[in-house]
């Protein structure tokens, strides 16, 4: 499909699509004068809302479908479950807190700042207890990072499942965090920071989700964060304080953090043995698969974002990220991986953060098989589903970073498919 302007068959397809797409009439080529312009409209005449109407704003009602959604039958109870970020309808890279996905193991709790206590104990000189105010008195940093659930795209191991990028790739968000480096708190307690030690971090909710983090990572870029996108964390994201473990699976980003223990080995808690481990085809499981490998997906067009305008200029927009660092390149294919074109990056990729990419095309109205393929600073190339299956078999659950395919038909409708 690289040869868009080849005559003969291309021209034929373009003509066919214009008929199929029906009305492509926009404001610019309306048949007669547009009453929205020629007639006085209510909003041009009546008074709008006062400044005291909504002290904290929500999206306008026309955008009310841009919300997190869950798929009820995926889990036994909505209390221990997941919902999905509407990434199909978002642009840029920052995820607004309100629509950022949530995953709770025993429900989201209300923990007031006054009731917050953070203990550091174990292999430390001085076991300490911090209040929320203490946390805000340590030197802090700001960083944008993605947080992706290890199970994101997990259903797709079994083939194309749910029809929507919100559901195949929506267990991800990307926020600017403000927090204290974990190493600062470890130093404050006089922790044994030798690299064979581990840091076990635990939450205050009923699930008391706990994860073991090797000391090298704990001293590197882990943050004890208390703001996201400039605001207090939402309750569902661990208010008042959560852990941020850049580039590593979301389950390790312990919410409502209450305890940091320095230990001489991994605790091997429930969430790092029975869950968040992957059984390969030989029946042997992989543990400590923390890093989220490079991945990308086209968010529009996608099943929830059909092309409604017919043939002509089309913006193909998507997201790419890597737990190993910066995204350096994204390629897009319109024919299911036969030919690839280098996409334009919205801006230079931030390390371990979402990168927006675009391919601006003149769509000829013919069906497409859209794919995106990310590369990161290590030179790693996002694999196809077949490549992943060849390595891991099909009974894995987590860490599916395969290339996603959307079949876009001549009407502009997109569907989740698998290709040869």
């Amino acid at each position: 499909m690289s040869d868009l302007f080849k005559p003969s068959r291309r021209a034929f397809l373009r003509g066919g699509a214009a008929v199929a797409a029906g009305s492509v009439a926009g404001a610019a080529n309306a048949a007669g004068p547009d009453p929205l312009i020629t007639e006085l409209q209510d909003w041009e005449s009546y008074l709008g809302a006062g400044v005291d109407e909504t002290p904290y704003g929500l999206p306008i009602r026309f955008e009310q479908d841009v919300v997190r959604r869950n798929v009820e039958w995926l889990t036994a109870s909505p209390i221990s479950s997941i919902n999905f970020t509407p990434i199909h309808a978002l642009e840029g890279t920052i995820t607004p807190q309100g629509c950022a996905f949530e995953r709770h193991h025993s429900g989201a709790i209300e923990l007031a700042k006054d009731d917050f206590r953070l203990m550091i104990n174990g292999l430390v000189d001085k076991p300490l207890v911090f209040s929320y105010e203490d946390i805000e008195r340590f030197p802090r940093e700001n960083h944008v990072y993605f947080c992706e659930c290890a199970a994101n795209t997990g259903m797709e191991w079994a083939g194309a499942q749910l029809n929507g990028v919100q559901f195949t790739h929506g267990m991800i968000h990307n926020m600017e965090y403000t927090g204290v480096p974990l190493r600062t708190l470890l130093a404050e307690a006089g922790a044994d920071m030798s690299l064979d030690k581990w840091v076990y971090v635990e939450g205050a909710d009923a699930s008391s989700n706990g994860r073991s983090i090797p000391m090298e990572k704990a001293l590197d870029d882990v943050l004890v964060a208390f703001k996201a996108n400039g605001e207090a964390l939402r309750m569902e994201h661990g208010y008042p304080v959560r852990l941020v473990v850049p580039g590593w699976e979301g389950n390790m980003w312990v919410k409502w953090i209450r305890r940091i223990e320095v230990v001489d080995r991994a605790v091997e808690s429930r969430e790092e043995t029975s869950k968040y481990t992957d059984v390969y085809e030989d029946g042997i499981a992989r543990k400590w698969t923390w890093v989220m490998d490079a991945k990308s997906v086209i968010t529009s067009p996608s099943p929830q974002m059909p092309i409604k305008h017919g043939a002509g200029p089309l913006v193909i927009s998507g997201l790419a990220w890597s737990g190993h660092g910066q995204i350096t390149r994204v390629d897009v294919s319109r024919n299911g991986g036969i030919t690839w074109e280098k996409a334009r990056l919205g801006k230079q990729g931030d390390t371990k953060a979402l990168t927006r990419f675009y391919l601006d095309v003149d769509w000829d109205g013919a069906p497409m098989l859209l794919q995106a393929r990310a590369m990161d600073e290590t030179g790693y190339v996002q694999p196809t589903k077949d490549q992943l299956r060849e390595k891991r078999g099909e009974n894995a659950v987590y860490h599916n970073n395969c290339i996603q395919t959307w079949y876009v038909n001549a009407e502009g409708v997109a569907e989740n498919v698998e290709v040869s």
Partner: protein, 438 residues
């Protein structure tokens, strides 16, 4: 800057002196010696002037050169300042002596929170319990989700069985078949279970439940007693079934190569279409439908694109969407809608509507007028069995009282729900349940 100055000044000044000297020599032929002397004086003066001009030009050139050096110094300083920006965004400092924040943790506080158990058994409190007692505790506290035999109800985790399934397409990962350490089970159950009442189990109860789970996996006999003394010696079935992340070796080593851009394969076909179509209503949530479409009739792709443009696909058909049997009156519609929201608290255990089945709780279709404890195939607690024998029937009064305080009103019910506190929630949920007749 110095370069341009020297180019302008030096040749100009030199040229002026030379021209003046030449003019004076020519004039000398027609005048007397006194004139010569006078002219010689003037030549000397012009030469002196020229020399002064030369010197001035040299000075200015020198000054310009100095300014150039100064300029370069300023430019270098500016570049250094710009580079300093990197340092200005340096990581947060860590004070060598600490910040003196926080307070010392009390031993009692550490004891209360530091309860995690390591695979070698460190962290276990003293205690004991056998599988026989564990079965009783399990039935009371765990079975409503995990099943009487740890087989798992609905989507809740299966805790027993699954041996020799790990290499299958759908491995059954239970405590018995999958978990590598017994400490994980003890630790998790003690800290995070039962679901909704975490942290309430005693150490002895936890030992007993863990012993029962081992028994339900056929790993021990029913008289097996687990304690802090024999805990570390117990080896799990799948203790050697885990390896540390080896993606670097298996995958990264092969996937860090320049990817193909053109003619990467001759042809591509769609091999599978989405299993579920997902409807996303404006009011939130999702409705999944089976996708009726097949891969028949889809075009294959080559480097020049789709082989042909297929006919428009048929519209999907909705399946299994439960609707209220009788359309509620307009006045009641709002109450029923409010009840649907309240019912979210019930629906993880009680199904209602088309095709509703017994789950953790009995289905609730046609509840009103139904005898208590009368749904076929559901295993009721004793209190509901007695209610049925007494001929008690669900009506507004009974349901309101039960839902307000389930455990107090029907002492012994298995229903774990703590009750609805608000009268309007009770009214609404009852209206909602009523809207589903048999």
């Amino acid at each position: 800057m110095s370069k341009s100055l020297s180019q302008i000044f030096l040749p100009a000044a030199g040229g002026t002196a030379l021209a003046a000297a030449l003019a004076i020599t020519i004039a000398n032929r027609d005048y007397g010696n006194d004139k010569i002397a006078s002219l010689e004086g003037r030549v000397a003066q012009v030469e002196a002037n020229a020399s002064t001009a030369m010197q001035k030009a040299r000075d200015e050139a020198q000054r310009a050169a100095e300014l150039q050096v100064e300029f370069e110094a300023v430019q270098a300083a500016a570049a250094a300042t710009a580079a300093m920006g990197v340092d200005l965004t340096a990581p947060a400092p860590v004070a060598d002596a600490g910040y003196g924040l926080g307070r010392a943790a009390h031993l009692e506080e550490i004891a209360a929170w530091d309860v995690d158990v390591l695979p070698d058994g460190r962290g276990l409190p003293e205690g004991r319990g056998d599988a026989y007692w564990g079965e009783e505790v399990f039935a009371e506290k765990c079975a409503s989700c995990h099943g009487d035999f740890a087989e798992g109800a609905d989507n809740w985790p299966v805790l027993a069985g699954g041996f020799d399934t790990l290499a299958n397409e759908d491995p059954v990962k239970t405590v018995g078949s999958y978990w590598p350490h017994l400490s994980t089970a003890w630790d998790y159950i003690h800290r995070s279970m039962p679901f909704g009442e975490a942290g309430t189990l005693t150490a002895d109860e936890t030992y007993a439940i863990v012993a029962y789970i081992l028994y339900s996996n056929d790993l021990v006999d029913d008289d097996f007693e687990l304690s802090h003394e024999n805990f570390a010696a117990f080896e799990m079935h799948n203790k050697d079934g885990f390896v540390v992340d080896d993606r670097a070796e298996l995958e990264y080593s092969q996937w860090r190569t320049e990817p193909c851009m053109d003619n990467c394969k001759p042809e591509v076909e769609v091999t599978m279409r989405s299993v579920f179509l997902v409807d996303t209503p404006v009011e939130g949530g999702t409705e999944s439908m089976m996708n009726p479409a097949t891969i028949e009739g889809l075009p294959s792709f080559s480097a020049s694109g789709a082989a042909f443009i297929p006919e428009a696909a048929p519209k999907p058909v909705k399946v299994a969407s439960a609707q209220p049997a009788a359309a509620p009156s307009d006045a009641g519609a709002e109450l029923v809608a409010a009840g649907a929201r309240v019912y979210r608290k019930c629906k993880s255990c009680h199904q209602i509507g088309d095709g509703a089945q017994n789950r953790t709780g009995p289905h609730l279709n046609g509840l009103f007028g139904r005898e208590m404890g009368s749904v076929d195939g559901f295993g009721y607690s004793r209190v509901f069995q007695s209610a049925q024998e007494e001929g008690r029937v669900w009506d507004d009064a009974e349901l309101t009282a039960f839902l307000a305080q389930p455990k107090a009103y029907m002492n012994g019910t298995k229903m774990a729900f703590s009750g609805l506190k608000k009268a309007e929630d009770l009214d609404a949920v009852i209206a909602y349940i009523k809207s589903y007749e048999n």
